[in-house]
Symmetry: C2
Subunit: 586 residues, 2 copies
């Protein structure tokens, strides 16, 4: 079936439901950032394979909104179809929401698949005056070989690695119940975290499709029995009842009338929401589990530190090879070789996200990901290398910008400006209550003073053996965003990754993960600071020392000394000389 | 009548209206920050004379909320009355809003004087489930000698000082009408600004009580005829019809049904709001005049620069006197002497706000204002001196921290940390679209790294010959505040005033006004920077040069050179030696 055929079929179904529009958000029933094959709905319908975008089917056609990362790719992938492309971020191009609001007279009655329509989105549209109709998933009718709901085996993490048992965590959640009767958790990483379980349903994100209903005494996990070995089933049966995933709605419909149920409207789909009894009192709040898992406990933090040392050793082993023989690399060969080094590390479980290696102009494309076809041969210039690993006791996300050959003056300047911002953010102390948006400019100030900027966030929260993007921790310039305006708290793990991207020329990004720690308490209250978790040398031949203050030089030197101390006994013997050279004082 | 008598009378009136509570916000019908004597309602009812606080009268008593600036003063002033004091900002003490929400069962039906109840506040309370009753002003019945609505003469500013005539400004406003039929302006400084008029109704704030209804062709100014000389009346009659202030509601009630009226719910009181015809379509938005006046035009900026040179000369003349003879000063003698110097300047019109001089521990009280009784004799130590002047062509607001005698190491450290933050904020460039909250940490970072902080905003917008606090320009750490999250724009005038306050010891604050200017345009868009308007030397004996970077030293030196160049021909001959000494390179 062609794309146009599929859209025609959707339009026929819309007609029966008297709809002016039908939306495909491209997420899953849990509003996950990354989805399993069953919910790659946007790609199925339009042929556009990027990770973000919104589709609006109307009686006469279909529209697709993609952000600047995907303007070129989307244009190529939808060529020849009836779809109109909206290049959001371009001046004068309305966002999906702006467009919808501007067409309110024609687009009044709007449908979308109930299982992927979040309650918060329904409320937003209703408040704006739209009639919102949660529909069946029209795609089912035109997608004969649609992948099924995944049911890969679920594994259990040892309590000693998690810091607390599932029972202890559930008790901690319940201690925050107040007058709540139930908490309904839809967020997959929250469920995995609170139960010390991990799955394999979504690439790079070790979660499993499920819902969790936490009651005052009873807790129900909605996930299929066959996913659990008898041993794990016996173990978790002590803390939860396991019922089938597809019976979630049926079960919550049997809850006593008038109960108080806390849930996050941003993560609760309408199929689940509307299954609760009519008189349920809903409390819309960020899930308590989201708040708890954001602040890593001391055992989790120790695991993260250990994972970062293993990961640092893999990185140094890889870098030593590259530096010894800088000829004959391609972007893919770089990421493959690094992954092979990671694979040698004890407890390594695979990449924590799709690796990025961007040479020269590719490095200026922020979310570039090399394919067999695009993978460039690496000659003189910069490579932005953004990769990470899952380990049994933690996970990593690290970016280094590598130099091949001799640097240009611009490359050194850009690298050093980014490094200064990276260090300025790292070294600041800040009072308890400070939010990410308040710190963001520290990382950008040196770029700004040179007429440069980067438009991605400076830091995202990182999970514990879970998702590499984990809210609500965030450091960004996005004013009015809930996560950017969520206070930084002790135990949060977050990235410090300023960059700069010169279109058609080169990109620079430097990323370490940091953990929020207590700094000091004075008459003005508590102050926090950051601890570097990532252990890997910076690219010293790209540092223009004359642009650094004495304080910055001392900071680089002390970090490099720490890297040397922690990694020298872990790296391969043939990498030691590189490690020593790369970490000597500037 | 005692305070308790007054409260009993209010309670009787509440009973007739079946109210559970009656609120006194203490503002005026225009939601002004400062009010004329008629609307000093909070002070009349409770005896508390501070500039902020909320009163809630209940059937059994009365409660007063004041912030940390006023904990001690309020306690003293309400002593012996039936009023319960809530010291907001203290741990565990609910804010007024938290308290109201926590008492929802008893406090269901809440009244407040309709003319001082803003539509936005009514909406907030209604959304929270309260029944809100706009009432008559109960105080009228118990305040026999209540001051009348002020009707001081209104003066007209020459167009050449304002940059545009009132007609031109009104045309600019109308060009932003879109499909709006009327804009209803309640904000007093907006009205004064757009009409090039100034009043004398509120101390330090040259506004006059009025409303302005801007239509597509017709514009009506609601202000009493007798306030205008014949000459001014003739002049403004070309652009507005003048109708009596007390007929505003009557008139807007005669507007044709179904018109689209833009107004700012945060500044529109319920008496006015409910006077519009039933089918009026309201558009709640920040007044266009507020946005326009925030960005000073080139003529206004030139006037501001000129005023700052005159003001700087007055400051230097004053400082030269103090430095020549540092004995025998009191806090009040300092502010009086400075004002006497300002009064000698051509075009000076008086102080732009109540002057602050805080010696030693008084300087650590952020909003301390000396009275005849409290005014300290100044001995060794620091004085925070925060003052400003109105001039015909601009206005100023400047803080210098003065040293008397030899400094302690702590005093020098604190002064230098504050200065470093003041300079860091000043010297940053930033991309178009940047909001105040993003820059705030630049001013605080050095304090934070030493376990210090200040809790007031870092910068407030300043008017053009109007209010010294003018929104929406703001640089502050207050996450989620509309003004902190309003982008900084070319022409905005804003203060750069970090400080630090060591309770019982000393305070430091350094404040210059800055104007937002274009810096450069690159492939990443437009970048902005700040220009110093304030021209006055820093206190060089408080600067610990060893704590400054070379860049900071160069910045202080170049600023001091600019101060010397601009002021040397303006200061009194006997002050020149001080000026030269104070501005020589560090």
């Amino acid at each position: 079936m062609t794309v146009d055929d599929k859209i025609r079929k959707i339009q026929e179904m819309m007609k029966k439901d008297h709809l002016d529009g039908w939306i495909v958000y491209g997420s899953d029933p849990h509003n996950s950032e990354y989805v399993c094959p069953r919910w790659r709905t946007r790609a199925f319908l339009t042929g556009f394979t990027g990770s973000a975008g919104t589709v609006l089917v109307t009686p006469d056609g279909a529209d697709l909104w993609v952000d600047s990362r995907y303007h070129i790719q989307a244009e190529a992938e939808i060529k020849g179809t009836c779809i109109t492309l909206f290049k959001a971020d371009k001046p004068g191009v309305p966002t999906f929401w702006e467009y919808l609001c501007s067409q309110k007279t024609q687009l009044h009655r709007i449908g979308t698949s109930a299982d992927c329509l979040m309650k918060a989105e329904l409320d937003r549209m209703t408040a704006e005056g739209f009639e919102v109709v949660p529909t069946a998933d029209y795609l089912d009718a035109i997608w004969p070989d649609r992948p099924s709901v995944p049911d890969f085996p679920v594994r259990q993490m040892p309590d000693r690695i998690c810091g607390f048992s599932a029972k202890e965590k559930l008790d901690q959640v319940r201690s925050k119940f107040g007058d709540i009767d139930y908490m309904m958790i839809s967020s997959l990483d929250d469920i995995a975290w609170v139960l010390n379980l991990r799955g394999n349903d979504i690439a790079y994100n070790p979660v499993f499709l499920s819902y969790l209903l936490i009651g005052r005494s009873d807790t129900v996990l909605f996930a299929d029995r066959k996913r659990f070995s008898d041993e794990i089933y016996d173990s978790i049966s002590n803390v939860v009842r396991v019922l089938p995933y597809d019976q979630t709605g049926l079960f919550v419909g049997t809850i006593e009338q008038g109960k108080k149920v806390a849930l996050d409207f941003g993560k609760t789909n309408m199929l689940i929401y509307s299954s609760f009894p009519a008189k349920t009192q809903f409390v819309n709040q960020m899930d308590v589990t989201t708040r708890m898992k954001a602040c890593k406990n001391p055992v989790e933090l120790d695991g993260m530190r250990e994972a970062h040392i293993l990961d640092g050793a893999a990185l140094v082993n890889f870098l030593a090879k590259v530096k010894k023989n800088p000829e004959g690399w391609t972007e893919m060969k770089l990421t493959d070789t690094l992954q092979a080094e990671r694979d040698k590390m004890p407890g390594e479980l695979g990449p924590s996200f799709g690796p990025i290696a961007g040479y020269a102009a590719h490095g200026a494309m922020c979310h570039y990901s090399a394919t067999e076809k695009s993978s460039s041969a690496v000659k003189r210039g910069l490579v932005v290398l953004d990769t990470g690993g899952h380990y049994e006791m933690g996970m990593t996300d690290v970016t280094r910008t590598l130099l091949f050959g001799m640097p240009t003056a611009d490359e050194k300047r850009d690298y050093t400006l980014v490094l200064k911002g990276h260090l300025a953010l790292f070294r600041t102390h800040f009072p308890e209550g400070t939010c990410g948006i308040q710190l963001d400019a520290l990382a950008s100030q040196f770029l700004w003073n040179n007429g440069l900027l980067f438009s991605h966030g400076t830091g995202h929260g990182v999970g514990f053996c879970l998702c590499v993007h984990e809210g609500p921790a965030s450091i960004s310039h996005r004013v009015g965003s809930a996560s950017t305006e969520y206070p930084l708290q002790i135990g949060m793990v977050i990235s410090d990754e300023p960059g700069v991207y010169l279109e058609g020329r080169h990109g620079v990004r430097i990323e370490n993960l940091v953990a929020v720690q207590k700094a000091e308490t004075t008459e003005f209250g508590n102050f926090f600071k950051f601890e570097f978790l990532t252990m890997c040398p910076y690219e010293r031949d790209l540092i223009d020392k004359s642009m650094l203050t004495d304080e910055e030089i001392a900071l680089v030197d002390s970090y490099h000394k720490e890297v040397l101390d922690k990694l020298s006994s872990k790296v391969a013997p043939e990498a030691l000389a590189y490690l020593k050279e790369a970490t000597k004082p500037l």
